[in-house]
Subunit: 487 residues, 2 copies
């Protein structure tokens, strides 16, 4: 899988205006075995932003920014610096990554967007299998009573459920939940599949669609229906479940760094932000171009919460009945949005320029997005496709390293260490992330959220050593937490 | 993709009773890069047939067959010759291919079953891309009004719909259909994406789950929810749409023959059996081990039925507005059931036998299912895994050829040419397929169905030459039709 690198996820190429004065639309020429794409230009025909006559999706409320005068014009991309949200919507539309569905908050993933998801799938699917998990498929309809069995699970999910009440023309006796996640139905089957310690660990994964009735939606980032992989495992001991949960968050971290060039911060969620039904949630948190945090993948140690609710037991080596220890973990199409909002700018990593003189000499000019001006240009690269392709691949590897470096330095320069609540408020008001010692209560965490809009993104695994003083309570604590506004 | 052959679809291996007197359960040791599986034995722990305490799925009504005395016993597989339906259920359970979901008619696809589906996906996904289609993903929730737009479509699908009426705790203004197929929502987007002839052909495909509220269900063959790929294309002319529909049924046929060793018959559906909303439906029809027909894949020329209903138009080269011509085509998890019911017998294509003497000599005995007795056995094959694996792969290729030959001769010997309705009735009553000249009306076709239980499976592409006399009406006709009982 080493051949899958950022350049296969990186679709924002366009052609030079030196050759074509009309706006152009792009289509991949082919997707070769190394997984990266070569592009050709096509006449541009679709209006940006004029996506749908029936769009009723509420986008994330944009902050108080005046519309760019050219906003909504065909082919125009709002500068990212002018309005991040409008820029994101323009990129999604112009690069034909996604489009709105007819139902509020739903999304059609178009070929270029889906190709990014397929690259993510290819990599993660191989890693999930390498780490011993088997793919399966569970039904998406879950009896409503299942969701009610685990107390915090129903509390967390019930406001977001889509319910099927009519099937085959008849009112159903029990309404059915359209899967928002599968812990309950998985446990229903685990009770039947697991008998003794010899059946453990049981480690499965599925690629599936899930539905959550979200009110504020944004393409890829938060949609009514999305695609994901969800892993579910059962173990004989807490230690094994913990090891599994940590292993999978580490797979996600490696993917983010090495494939998507996103320098995520790995850590543990606060109790308030823990998955509904989990003992502990681990997360990878990514800093978007507007410095908001994006939860890009999570891994849960579910403890025995679901096994006790569903009576998922095994007979141990001493013949005793025990509840299994479980994990679940997921990465979704949200990651596609994360890639765009991390690396996207006003829309071209590597530009291949072809002018009339180039055509006569059979060469092209290659310009790197990340190195402006003449310094980033190479003239006279042969048009011969095998040479050009190898050259582009090589350059994209360079771009990948450079993008990761830039993303790391962007991230680091936007995380401030704070030692008082006032310093935190100041950091957040500047749009930055705040990192500081924390031992506050749930109520104090909520107060920070209400007063600043920031939440605890995680207690990062990388911690400064020694005892610190909580900036909120003044009590001694071993841990720093990271606070930020998030998507 | 040449490496994907039947042996990657072929999971019914077991270990020898020479070594283990207890029943065994199987798990793949690993899935290597050539796509076939190597198995190891595990102690068997799951009861066959005792799959679920909450199973309410109605299986296909078994014909009037007494239960085998051992039926339902742990690890027991009903002989196929005794009761095909019970045998199928036992295979599904014992080989751990699938299990029942908590909601009537739903199915959990377990790792071995899903591995077969993944092998199908790998092959078809590559072919679909090679033939110029791009993968996308459409939302599964479709406004009810969409389904109503195409008259025969709503008539065909409305009895089978699952409807979401509550979302996020609120009654919805318009109820939502959980996708039974996507022609309507695809056309909604095509109206926005297609402007001129330069946007055509537009050729997309999606891998998705679909829901049809079926009353009589059977694992893989007919379930409330299933997985499939659905291709959707739009073209400038009827001829192009026809060419596309024919090309994709041919891709399916090649897959069936070359990968799954299923000798399907390719043909055109009768008007009555045509997809709800299509102009013409092409089908691949497979003969199962009990000689029932299985529709294993379909490709539809939709004509302008959906484009007229949705106003999906383009501007042609002369500046005139025209309705597009469309196709759609699908293969589903039903194909997994088709593989089992074609090639499955009482549960082992290649048996690797290891006795105590073999262990001391480091060798195994390999027995072919399809060649009984000593003739099918090879003694003294090295246990060294690279040698054993290559040997097994080679033998499975032989088994594949032999299975296809056997399936072809089984199929041919069970299709009778008929020249009168009485002959047809006789053939059907013997459980065979009947092929005969047909120019009957819809009413006459329905009469055959009512009186014999058989339907027209297709007008096969391979037709005897010359004018024939319809066995029902006595009128001259150019075509023979194939009649059979089907799943």
């Amino acid at each position: 899988m080493g051949a899958l690198r950022f350049h296969s996820l990186c679709l924002f190429l366009s052609t030079s205006t030196r050759a074509a004065s009309a706006p152009t639309r792009l289509s991949p020429l082919h997707h070769h075995s190394h997984g990266h794409l070569v592009f050709k230009a096509k006449p541009y025909t679709l209006a940006s932003r004029d996506l749908s006559t029936q769009v009723t999706a509420e986008a994330e409320a944009p902050e108080n920014i005046e519309k760019h005068p050219k906003s909504g014009q065909e082919g125009f991309i709002t500068p990212r610096s002018h309005d991040f949200n409008a820029w994101y919507a323009d990129i999604i539309a112009n690069a034909e990554l996604a489009d709105y569905g007819p139902v509020r908050g739903t999304m059609v993933i178009r070929p270029y967007g889906y190709a990014i998801w397929e690259a993510i799938q290819d990599y993660l699917n191989a890693k999930i299998k390498e780490t011993g998990h088997k793919n399966v498929y569970f039904p998406q309809f879950i009896p409503y009573s299942f969701i009610e069995k685990e107390a915090s699970h129903v509390e967390g999910f019930s406001p977001e459920l889509a319910l099927v009440t009519i099937g085959g023309g008849k009112e159903l006796e029990e309404k059915l939940v359209v899967r928002p996640t599968s812990e309950t139905i998985v446990n229903y089957k685990f009770t039947q599949w697991i008998r003794s310690y010899r059946d453990l660990p049981l480690m499965i994964n599925q690629w599936a669609n899930v539905t959550r009735w979200e009110m504020r939606t944004k393409p890829f980032i938060r949609t009514l229906e999305f695609l994901w992989q969800e892993g579910h495992t059962a173990h004989a001991t807490l230690e094994e479940a913990e090891e599994e949960a940590l292993k999978m968050i580490s797979v996600y971290k490696t993917f983010a760094y090495e494939q998507a060039a996103i320098p995520v911060i790995v850590g543990r969620k606060s109790r308030l932000e823990t998955f509904a039904g989990a003992l502990r949630t681990y997360t990878i948190e990514a800093m978007m171009g507007d410095r908001r945090a994006l939860q890009a993948g999570t891994s849960h140690n579910l403890g025995q919460n679901f096994s006790r609710a569903f009576e998922t037991q095994f007979t141990d080596e001493n013949g005793q009945r025990q509840y299994v220890w479980q994990t679940s973990w997921a990465v979704s199409t949200r990651f596609v949005g994360g890639i765009i909002m991390t690396h996207g700018d006003d829309g071209v990593p590597l530009r291949i320029e072809i002018g009339p003189r180039d055509v006569s000499s059979g060469t092209v000019v290659i310009s790197r997005r990340d190195v402006p001006g003449k310094q980033g240009k190479v003239f006279g690269v042969s048009m011969e496709s095998s040479i050009l392709e190898a050259y582009v691949k090589d350059k994209l590897d360079e771009v990948q390293s450079s993008l990761l470096e830039k993303a790391i330095s962007f991230r680091n320069s936007n995380i401030l260490d704070v030692s008082s609540y006032d310093e935190l408020k100041e950091a957040i008001s500047q749009g930055k992330w705040a990192r500081g010692p924390w031992s506050g209560s749930d109520a104090e965490e909520l107060r920070v959220k209400e007063e600043t809009g920031a939440t605890i993104r995680c207690f990062p695994f990388e911690q400064p050593e020694g005892t610190k003083t909580c900036f909120m309570t003044g009590n001694p604590t071993e841990e720093v937490a990271i606070f930020a506004k998030s998507y």
